[in-house]
């Protein structure tokens, strides 16, 4: 349904000659011919109206779309009318008619661009007012109805979608609530775990005091003291495990070796390491490991220099497969860094030193009542 500028002009010219014909025949022609001319004019006016909308719309894509939808009805109308118009115009012979007066052409062009004026002039001059009025009125009513209908549909649809949108907008809130609840539940589970552990511990002690002999009580307390001391890393321990020696140089990226060193320790823990030391310094829960420069690393606020000997006691085979992972493990990732060396081997009698008492700081902690 594209009517380009060329067509537009063509139609305008045809219109002008049609008008001229109509004008020319007015004096001598029959009523039918006048009607025909009117008809042609009427329909061409519509085509022009649609065409001008179309030509305007071709300017920019957005406008085009808007124009398309806005003029969809008009364009459909125009297409139908264009056919009728062609038929009608064929009855006039532009060549046979007198050459159109240029001022008349201009007037026609001007006139058909402004439909309101055309109506008026035509009502008075050419058309039986009753027919046109009826036709125009019916059309206006229809247009109004369609407009109202469209508006109503649009408003209802918009309202519906808005309600749903507001409903779905409230969804993140409930999702947030669920997350919050899950977090609370999580915390309660861990609180429950801690409380149960405390209760069991106290119950054991009560049972001990109530049911055991004095010697048994003391022996049991000593056992527990040793166990907790070992667990806390405050005793020197011996066992089978793995030894890793690594070295890096100024060619090594500090951040890379930092990350991989942390991953190595983490991997050892994940593989069941029970005691770990670097250059004789026991790694506890709160011990930091920081590669400060290519010259030294800081472990538990102590400066250590290369080579770095890491010892870990645990199930040696698990430790071994944990760090090697069949060739893609963390030790290979360390070895692949430029400027590093990394070796590892299982050893039978590894000794991991005890941490000193000062290594565990608790001055900022209070016992929870």
């Amino acid at each position: 349904m594209t009517i380009d500028e060329k067509d537009f002009n063509k139609i305008a010219d045809e219109l002008a000659s049609g008008e001229a014909g109509a004008q020319g025949t007015e004096t001598s022609g029959t009523r039918a011919e006048i009607d025909r001319g009117k008809n042609a004019n009427d329909q061409l006016r519509h085509i022009l109206g649609a065409a001008s909308g179309q030509v305007d719309g071709d300017g920019t894509p957005e406008q085009d779309n808007a124009a398309d939808s806005a003029n969809a009805a008009d364009s459909a109308d125009a297409a139908d009318l264009a056919n009728t118009a062609e038929d009608t115009v064929d009855h006039f012979d532009p060549a046979g008619a007198e050459a159109p007066d240029p001022s008349l052409v201009n007037w026609a062009k001007q006139m058909w661009r402004t439909p309101g004026t055309a109506y008026d002039s035509r009502n008075s001059t050419y058309i039986e007012p009753a027919t046109v009025k009826k036709d125009g009125a019916a059309r206006a009513v229809r247009t109004a109805l369609i407009t109202i209908l469209c508006l109503a549909v649009g408003i209802v649809a918009a309202l519906q979608f808005k309600t749903i949108a507001s409903k779905t907008a409230s969804e993140p809130d409930s999702e947030e609530q669920i997350k919050e609840l899950l977090s609370t539940i999580n915390n309660m589970h861990s609180e429950l775990g801690s409380l149960e552990a405390e209760r069991d511990e106290l119950q054991n002690r009560l049972d001990l005091v109530e049911q055991s002999s004095q010697d048994e009580q003391i022996a049991s307390l000593r056992d527990e003291l040793n166990r907790v001391r070992t667990f806390a890393g405050l005793t020197s321990v011996k066992g089978r495990g793995i030894h890793i020696q690594l070295n890096f140089t100024e060619r090594t990226n500090i951040n890379s070796i930092q990350n991989r060193l942390l991953l190595l320790i983490n991997e050892l823990r994940a593989s069941g390491a029970q005691a770990i030391s670097i250059n004789g310094i026991r790694i506890l829960g709160m011990t930091e490991i920081r590669v400060v420069s290519d010259q030294y690393i800081s472990v538990g606020a102590r400066q250590l220099v290369a080579p770095y000997d890491i010892y870990a006691i645990g199930e040696a085979s698990n430790l071994y497969s944990g760090i090697t992972m069949g060739g893609s493990g963390i030790v290979f990732q360390i070895r692949d860094l430029s400027g590093t060396t990394c070796t590892w081997d299982i050893q039978e009698n590894i000794i991991v030193n005890a941490a000193s008492d000062e290594d565990i700081k608790t001055d900022l902690l209070t016992s929870n009542p």
Binding site: R199, L206, K361
Partner: protein, 245 residues
């Protein structure tokens, strides 16, 4: 002729309006069905969430009740224990003193080893990757680095989602979850650290890992708090020293 043509035009116009009507009816039907399905989906989602919330609230209530009952148990055991000790103090002063000494040592040691619940000022870091569609996960590398930063800044007790960090604690990525102390934890991750709150906060926010987390757009949040409670290690200690001689 004119009348015929007018009739023809009228018929065509009628056909055109009929087509218009059909189009509108079709649009109406499409819009309506779309609204209905959208509405149903929204309703289903909200009722599903409602059910989930109710279920979670119920679980939280049950857990709360359980916590209270254990607290009550603990209180009664404590009072019984105190009575027994008071009796002992009256009957056998010497043994009472010996027992008291050992018990106090043990209590201190347990406190230092992370086997008791502790409190203090510090920071709470929240990380969440559960809402992200893209592959921005909280990696174990991030968590180990965050822990390292906190330890460097003098943290004296740390927990992740309630799991206390002890010398053997691993932080392992397991797909959508992590493993700490052999326990599976799910996002959102909550790292609580007790220490000097300002130092911890500054160290964390100035760390490389912090900027990584911010750039990766992991849902993050960090708060200072005057009082953070960190639970005790609840795992099996025996198992964690079985290879040490």
């Amino acid at each position: 002729m004119a009348a015929e043509r007018a009739k023809k035009a009228k018929t065509e116009r009628r056909a055109y309006y009929a087509a218009l009507l059909i189009i509108f009816v079709a649009i109406g039907a499409i819009v309506t069905s779309k609204i209905i399905t959208t509405r149903r989906a929204a309703d289903a989602k909200s009722s599903e969430n409602k059910a989930l919330i109710e279920q979670d609230q119920k679980e939280a209530e049950e857990l709360g009740a359980e916590v209270e009952s254990i607290r009550a148990d603990l209180k009664s055991i404590e009072s019984r224990y105190r009575t027994v000790l008071a009796d002992l103090k009256a009957t056998d002063r010497e043994f009472y003193n010996l027992l008291n000494m050992y018990t106090k040592d043990l209590e201190t040691l347990r406190f230092r080893a992370g086997l008791t619940t502790v409190a203090g000022s510090g920071i709470i870091i929240k990380l969440d990757d559960s809402g992200l569609v893209q592959r921005a996960l909280v990696h174990d590398t991030y968590l180990t680095e965050i822990l390292n930063v906190l330890k460097e800044a003098g943290a004296q007790a740390i927990s992740i989602n309630g799991e206390r960090i002890v010398p053997t604690s691993e932080v392992l990525c397991l797909g959508p979850s992590i493993r700490v102390n052999g326990v599976r934890l799910f996002a959102p991750y909550r790292i609580s650290a007790v220490g000097d709150a300002d130092t911890l906060l500054k160290a964390y926010q100035e760390s490389r890992i912090y900027s990584t987390i911010v750039t990766q757009n992991l849902l993050y949040d960090v708060q200072k708090s005057d009082r953070i409670v960190i639970g005790s290690f609840t795992g099996n200690q025996e198992k964690l020293i079985s290879n040490l001689h």
